[in-house]
Symmetry: C2
Subunit: 246 residues, 2 copies
């Protein structure tokens, strides 16, 4: 199995592509590869190539694209995850797992009971950059040639306003007593779905009501109360399994 590198600037029309600094460091310092080594590169938008290292110096790594290669298959359903921003390093784990489970877009949500609430926009930007790196690392590991976009955190109400046409499925606690919530098994199939999951403290009643008004389908899991950071993985798995896509 050839090592894989993320080369967002890869262009089959160009003679070669330079790897980003992180990737170059991985190639030279961790894997100790040199000119002539065979590798795979992917552009994060679904394209993958067999490639050969041309130059591997401290300053830069350039590779030549030799031929197209087949990456891990993408989900047949366009999957997005909109999740309440979780505390500490939990977001890193969820981003990594969501990439493995095939999402193409991740939207961190600021909700009423979100416990992680960064004060400054600067801090948010650093977080988004970090999550992007986690997404790249996960795509490298799981064989996908698509690096999902991790968006800037948005308020849940603003997320609801920005409808995309996808089926929006909001996972709510059984104990929330939301009358309109259905079993996940009853979800209609869709070509595109956005899975919405709440924070450690749960959704507020206002939020579930607003989501229902905005056309979200509310779902409860009969399996009971799950940790907030386990719900995204369970929700994405359930949707893919039920839609014959796992």
């Amino acid at each position: 199995v050839l090592p894989r590198f993320y080369a967002p600037e890869a262009d089959p029309a160009a003679a070669s592509v330079r790897l980003p600094d992180d990737e170059a460091a991985h190639l030279t310092r961790v894997l100790r590869l040199t000119a002539g080594a065979r590798v795979r590169v992917f552009d994060g938008r679904g394209h993958e190539w067999l490639a050969s290292v041309i130059d591997a110096t401290r300053a830069a790594v350039r590779v030549e694209l030799l031929e197209t290669a087949v990456a891990a298959p993408e989900s047949r359903v366009t999957l997005a995850l909109a999740l309440a921003w979780l505390k500490g390093d939990k977001m890193d784990d969820v981003v990594r797992d969501a990439v493995m489970l095939g999402v193409t877009r991740i939207v961190p949500l600021l909700t009423k009971y979100t416990e992680a609430r960064p004060a400054a926009a600067a801090s948010r930007g650093r977080r988004a950059e970090r999550w992007h790196r986690v997404a790249v690392a996960s795509a490298k590991q799981c064989g996908r040639a698509v690096v999902p976009r991790v968006e800037e955190p948005v308020r849940f109400v603003d997320y609801l306003d920005g409808a995309t046409g996808a089926l929006r499925v909001m996972f709510v606690e059984p104990s929330a007593g939301v009358g309109a919530a259905v079993d996940v098994q009853t979800l209609p199939r869709a070509d595109a779905v956005e899975v919405c999951t709440g924070p450690e403290g749960g959704w507020s009643p206002d939020e579930t009501a607003a989501a229902a008004r905005a056309g979200c389908t509310l779902v409860t899991l009969r399996a009971g109360t799950l940790r907030a950071d386990a719900v995204p993985l369970v929700a994405l798995t359930a949707v893919r399994a039920l839609w014959d896509d796992l």
Copy 2:
């Protein structure tokens, strides 16, 4: 919502029950409850009661069982997880998640490529005790009155020898090139299922062959390569979702 405590010695025929030391410490030192407080207790075998604290001293906590109460519903399918022993704290996370997803039995497996390989039986015993505590904590959190049994680690070949009559489903990597593996969606329904998941280094060819000979159903996930510690959660979720039990 009343706080819940694990009282394995609870007996409706007795006037009161003493809580284990861990639980007593949680009641007195963390929650600072005193005599007269209303709580819930469960025996780990599916029974739950409304109860009242009789005595709460440093030495012991006793509660009186007042009436039976309804715990979170158990899975309709009897679920077990047999998983290759994972490195570091990953087992704790998997035990916690598996309890939330409704397993009644967890079997740590020693496999050919298991990286965590404790030398001494004493260390194994401490681990099993630790996992039991994790299982209790998870049951308390998710509302189950059943505390799954975490068994002593066994060699995979010995696990295969000890057939239980349950459908055994072994999750294998797509890249393992195991000819006989099917999609998870094709699994026949069963009343009892044991989900088997491999270590970081994957199953050995001998192990998949032995499992197939022993009657295990081999399954691959089209979603691609997942982290070893994510597979149990994904596998249990997929089975419950597909069998209309999530």
